[in-house]
């Protein structure tokens, strides 16, 4: 057991993969010489050298284009897009090129690449540096989508993503970077599996499905709900594509109640997708409405008081579940 921040888990994870496979390379803005603007990639340049850890100009399309072209010709690039909001400036490369090219070429090409990006709110950065856009990626066929909530998951899922033969968009949560976690350190590499959700708290009364930062809030909410006599099962989705629908459906079969906790703005989120799957496939299991707890459908405000009240809070989760589960 070692104690590790989520931030350090990123560099540990990248380092593990750079050490594991000479085809792995890493590029992005300010990632090499500066060690990343979140200091999540410090030491990599020094350890692996400028041919494998490389600074790029402010050219997100060029960065992801380079990752795509390198992947199709045999490398296994990890590219950083500093803030996930900036995926918008290179969305064509992500959604139209990386996601579709394998299909369009009838499988002639593979794109084993990872796009890492800092996602989510809580830093008072305002509407253009705080978005949760994992649903943008989930909506595009051909992308795998991962969003870890702990340091160990960050290492393990990053490894799984890098070793996966398909493109993965890897959302790190900015507000998780400073969080400390226990990590089981063994002899070998830490390698997890994509497409496996985790029941992080078993329970029998209601199912709460959450992702990334929201997992921690859901867990805290579950403890408070327990005090009210509501025994919540909390599921960390971890991976939106492939989606471990089975774990969610099994949980709902048991609890008959589903709550999703999403940080993205309300419309067309991953919560809507899961709610819809449950409303279709587990309809007869349900004892009551499927309830989504989301950020309202507004851009994120910057002021601390406003931001805190916009993103789902522990209070909001507790109140929503308490009010609705008692109906």
């Amino acid at each position: 057991m070692a104690e590790l921040t989520y931030r350090d888990a990123v560099s540990v994870g990248i380092a593990q993969e750079l050490a594991n496979d000479p085809r792995v390379v890493f590029l992005g803005e300010d990632v090499a010489g500066a060690g990343g603007v979140f200091k999540a990639t410090t030491g990599l340049l020094e350890r692996f050298g400028p041919e494998r850890v490389r600074d790029a100009p402010i050219s997100e399309q060029a960065i992801l284009g380079a990752a795509m072209g390198a992947a199709m010709t045999g490398l296994r690039p990890i590219a950083e897009i500093m803030f996930s909001d900036f995926l918008a400036v290179c969305w064509d490369i992500v959604a139209n090129e990386i996601a579709k090219s394998r299909y369009m070429t009838a499988g002639q090409m593979a794109f084993p690449l990872v796009v890492r990006t800092a996602n989510g709110g809580g830093s008072r950065f305002g509407a253009q540096h705080s978005q949760s856009v994992e649903n943008w990626a989930m909506a595009v066929p051909g992308l795998k989508v991962v969003a870890p909530s702990t340091a160990e998951d960050t290492i393990g899922l990053l490894a799984a993503a890098v070793r996966d033969p398909d493109p993965v968009i890897f959302f790190e949560h900015k507000s998780c970077y400073p969080m400390k976690f226990d990590v089981t350190v063994g002899n070998g590499d830490i390698v997890d599996e994509l497409g496996v959700a985790k029941v992080v708290r078993p329970g029998k009364d209601v199912t709460i499905v959450a992702l990334a930062l929201m997992v921690h809030r859901a867990m805290e909410a579950a403890e408070r709900l327990a005090a009210d006599g509501i025994d919540a099962e909390v599921i960390d989705v971890r991976c939106l594509v492939p989606l471990d629908a089975r774990t969610i459906l099994e949980s709902v079969a048991k609890t008959s109640r589903l709550y999703t906790v999403e940080e993205n703005p309300r419309l067309c989120g991953w919560g809507a997708e899961i709610a819809s799957i449950v409303a279709e496939e587990a309809f007869w299991d349900l004892d009551g409405p499927v309830v989504r707890i989301t950020t309202p459908h507004v851009p994120l405000p910057a002021a601390d008081a406003l931001e805190d009240a916009t993103i789902p809070s522990v209070d909001r989760i507790v109140e929503t579940v308490r009010r609705s589960a008692s109906q």
């Binding site: 795509m68 002639q108 090409m109």
Partner: protein
């Protein structure tokens, strides 16, 4: 040779006018075999695309298609100059560049017809021709992106020290999009072995490039912005293209970094299948038709002592190949609907959940 109309005669439709054919290109040190190859490649592209157009008129080619009729010298010049393991990145107007790398005609034609024996099993269509086996690393239908992607292949070559080069073809109109700027800049900053080839056919879709670009040579006049040499070649002269291509490839292989080449040319038809191209002044079309790269090259070869019979044998062989590719395509089966659900992932499937 006709005298070219003046700038004024072209008006805003063609601020860029065709350079007179440079007969000194006949003196270029290109061996006979290569020249015959250039001739054959141009004929292959020409006859294949004429057939594709006929099949479109017959309702057999579905969707859209963008022909390179009139622009064949560029694809041919590069096709002949590139090493077998170099990489091509093409656009929606990519039949020419695909064939020029030796991809057989049958699967290409079948792809245009949406058949199971198509190059992409019918899943990609005319705009996405790809043959990894032949170094054709995709055809891309959204302006600009593939210039960035080509850099990635070039990065692999640089990283693995293989000497391979990535070549990206694109049009004049493409020089206005952001990805063009990012790609060329990035290639220079990283010193990548990428060759960027702008086929300036004077028009984006239906709008003259002179209307929408502030410099006369939309690629060559921007090279300096990236610390690159300004290179402008006659895109209707296969020899000129071949030499420019060879030099740029050599430089890239030697670690000398990227090149940006502008080749002036003209498409004989409209932008895509549906476009009659009527927005172009007839005199402009006439002037360029006189500079049709294939008859011009034919004359060049005769002037260099090649036998007319040898050339017509090539043309006959190519015509036969087009014929049999047509048959192969027309006979091809409609794709199995199961194909819808394959090839999203490397495991062959498309499943996104358990």
């Amino acid at each position: 040779m006709t005298t070219m109309p003046s700038y004024e005669e072209y008006g805003q439709h063609a601020p860029i006018f065709p350079s007179p054919v440079d007969q000194s290109n006949a003196e270029l040190p290109i061996d006979r075999e290569t020249r015959l190859r250039l001739y054959r490649l141009q004929q292959e592209i020409r006859l294949f695309e004429k057939r594709a157009y006929d099949l479109f008129l017959q309702g057999l080619v579905k969707g859209t298609s963008h022909l390179s009729l009139g622009q064949e010298a560029i694809a041919a010049g590069f096709g002949a100059a590139m090493a077998p393991d170099d990489w091509t990145f093409a656009t929606y107007r990519g039949h020419a560049h695909t064939l020029a790398r030796g991809v057989p005609m049958g699967p290409v034609m079948a792809e245009l017809l949406g058949r199971a024996n198509g190059l992409l099993g019918g899943k990609g269509g005319s705009m996405h021709l790809t043959s990894v086996e032949h170094g054709v690393m995709g055809s891309y239908a959204i302006i600009g992106a593939h210039l960035c992607v080509a850099n990635g292949a070039a990065w692999t070559a640089q990283y693995n020290k293989t000497g391979q080069v990535a070549v990206a073809f694109f049009g004049d109109g493409t020089t206005n999009i952001g990805a063009f700027h990012e790609a060329i800049n990035f290639a220079k900053v990283w010193n990548l072995p990428t060759v960027f080839v702008c086929e300036n056919n004077l028009y984006m879709e239906y709008t003259s490039i002179g209307h929408v670009a502030p410099v006369p040579n939309p690629a060559a006049d921007r090279a300096a912005a990236y610390g690159l040499e300004s290179i402008l070649v006659d895109g209707n002269d296969a020899d000129a293209v071949y030499v420019a291509a060879s030099r740029a490839l050599e430089r890239a292989r030697a670690g000398g970094g990227p090149s940006l080449i502008e080749a002036r040319t003209y498409r004989h038809g409209g932008h895509s299948r549906a476009d009659p191209g009527t927005y172009r002044p007839q005199e402009e079309i006439d002037a360029w038709m006189e500079r049709d790269p294939i008859p011009m090259y034919h004359q060049r070869l005769l002037g260099l002592g090649v036998d007319e019979g040898e050339l017509s044998t090539i043309a006959t062989q190519v015509a036969a190949a087009v014929e049999s590719s047509t048959q192969e395509a027309v006979d091809g089966p409609v794709p199995d609907l199961a194909a819808i659900y394959t090839d999203v992932w490397a495991d062959g499937g498309s499943s996104w959940r358990n």
